[in-house]
């Protein structure tokens, strides 16, 4: 395994009295795509949200255990400031959720919030670079001041990715980013994920086994709040070690 960008140790999450994640240990390798797969309700989103403390805002959620980013604790008294953490660990959601603002303002949102660029030429460059890296520039360069909600679903999702990468995060979390997209828009996002891997560490939750196989280098299989198997994607999809993994990915239960 290459160097871990993030790690979790005995990471557990309760929602009220219900244990949703049971002592999960996982290393997320730097500069690779890690796919989280598993049946609905097994805790993938819960796990993902722990990585940038999104669970803090979920009512009744209680997180225990350790999470590190570059070896530094994410939770606890010595934890990274959550606002800074979310700048370093960005998130893309299942449904494209651009703000009801212009395309330009959507991408400029994060840099403005974190004071990363001055208005004017500098911000123009940041916006352009974000849109370019999200593979959207050519399609929207003449309509930067139209509403971000007025473009197609696939374009909106790439806009959300542009928004996420404009603040130069180190890790990007994606929760089923393609589930609302057609195969072409999906292919564009997958291609984008492959390109982004050069500069970012990516964790993606997906229900498509083929997508996990196509985009990731490592795959972790979750089941009932636990990690059952984690390994190189090729190994997991050709010769999984665990019966449950095999049953799930081959469509024998789920």
């Amino acid at each position: 395994m290459p160097d871990a960008k993030m790690t979790t140790r005995r990471l557990a999450v309760h929602y009220g009295g219900k244990l949703a994640l049971k002592e999960v240990d996982l290393d997320i390798p730097a500069g690779d795509v890690t796919a989280l797969i598993g049946p609905s309700g097994c805790g993938k989103s819960t796990f993902l949200r722990c990585l940038n403390r999104m669970n803090d805002t979920v009512e009744g959620a209680r997180v225990s255990g350790e999470v590190t980013l570059d070896g530094k604790p994410v939770y606890g008294p010595d934890g990274i400031d959550p606002v800074l953490l979310r700048a370093r660990v960005g998130m893309v959601f299942q449904r494209p959720n651009p703000f009801p603002k212009s395309i330009y303002d959507n991408v400029a949102f994060g840099p403005r919030l974190h004071g990363l660029a001055a208005e004017g030429e500098e911000m123009d460059r940041v916006v352009r670079s974000g849109l370019e890296r999200a593979g959207l520039w050519a399609e929207v360069k003449d309509r930067l001041h139209e509403k971000g909600t007025g473009i197609s679903g696939g374009q909106q999702q790439r806009l959300c990715i542009a928004r996420a990468i404009a603040i130069e995060p180190e890790v990007i979390l994606m929760d089923e980013p393609c589930s609302a997209l057609d195969p072409i828009a999906t292919a564009k996002i997958e291609e984008l994920i492959d390109e982004l891997r050069e500069n970012f560490t990516i964790v993606i939750v997906t229900h498509s086994m083929q997508q996990a196989a196509r985009v990731s280098q490592f795959t972790a299989f979750f089941h009932l709040g636990q990690i059952i198997e984690v390994g190189a994607t090729e190994q997991v999809f050709t010769a999984p070690r665990n019966e449950l993994t095999q049953g799930y990915i081959t469509g024998r239960f789920g």
Binding site: M209, A213, T238, A239, I249, R252, G254
Partner: protein
């Protein structure tokens, strides 16, 4: 455990049944080729040659079925290994049947010539090859990885018998030059039978891979005396 999508199970079963049919056919072909040699039965030999196309048809069926499953089901894990192994095993079976048909073809020529003594040993080699093919196909179809692995030993035995037979035939040819023509046909047939053992071994390795997901890393050490003698018939 069955798949949630039942038609997928049905497709995989069709693949397995196709292989079983093809394997059974190849066994019959090989048994008949040996019988034709033993009894100098040219009619039987001709039938073996004719029926080879049935094995080819079996291979085409597996090819089409495999492509279909790959395209429509995108199989992974043990399903993927089953499909890929089926494709390769059908190729191995086709080669086995091909070599059996070739032996039958040579028996037609042999039947025009006076019998030669090493034929008895050749028949013995043929029976060994046939047994190995049967057992290997059994282990493949019954998902018995351990048995498949152990059968690789038997190919070594076959190679040893082949090497001994090779020397025997050579001795005959040297003692009586009039036997050179039938004996050289015997040699080619022996080589065919030895190769059948190699294809059977490949099937055993695929059986192991299909079940375990692991390849048989250890290289087989081949003690094939003929290449030392310098008369390589391949």
């Amino acid at each position: 455990m069955p798949h949630i999508v039942k038609s997928f199970d049905a497709e995989l079963r069709r693949l397995e049944e196709g292989l079983a049919r093809m394997g059974g056919l190849a066994e019959t072909q090989l048994a008949a080729a040996i019988e034709a040699l033993e009894n100098r039965d040219s009619d039987l030999a001709a039938r073996v040659m004719h029926d080879d196309s049935r094995v080819d048809a079996g291979e085409s069926f597996i090819n089409e079925q495999t492509v279909k499953v790959l395209a429509l089901r995108a199989p992974v894990a043990d399903d993927l290994r089953t499909v890929v192994a089926a494709l390769k095993v059908s190729g191995e079976i086709e080669r086995i049947a091909d070599l059996a048909a070739n032996a039958a073809k040579r028996s037609l020529v042999l039947n025009q010539l006076p019998p030669v003594a090493p034929m008895r040993s050749l028949i013995r080699l043929g029976r060994l090859a046939l047994e190995l093919v049967k057992d290997v196909l059994d282990s493949y179809l019954s998902h018995d990885a351990e048995r498949a692995l152990s059968l690789r030993e038997r190919d070594q035995e076959l190679d040893d018998v082949y090497s001994a037979l090779f020397r025997e035939i050579l001795t005959y040819m040297m003692e009586d030059p009039r036997t050179i023509t039938p004996c050289s046909h015997l040699m080619f047939i022996a080589k065919n039978l030895e190769r059948i053992g190699d294809h059977a071994t490949n099937i055993a390795e695929l059986a192991y891979y299909r079940v375990t997901g692991k390849t048989v890393a250890e290289e087989r050490t081949k003690k094939d005396v003929s290449s030392f003698i310098g008369a390589d018939l391949s």
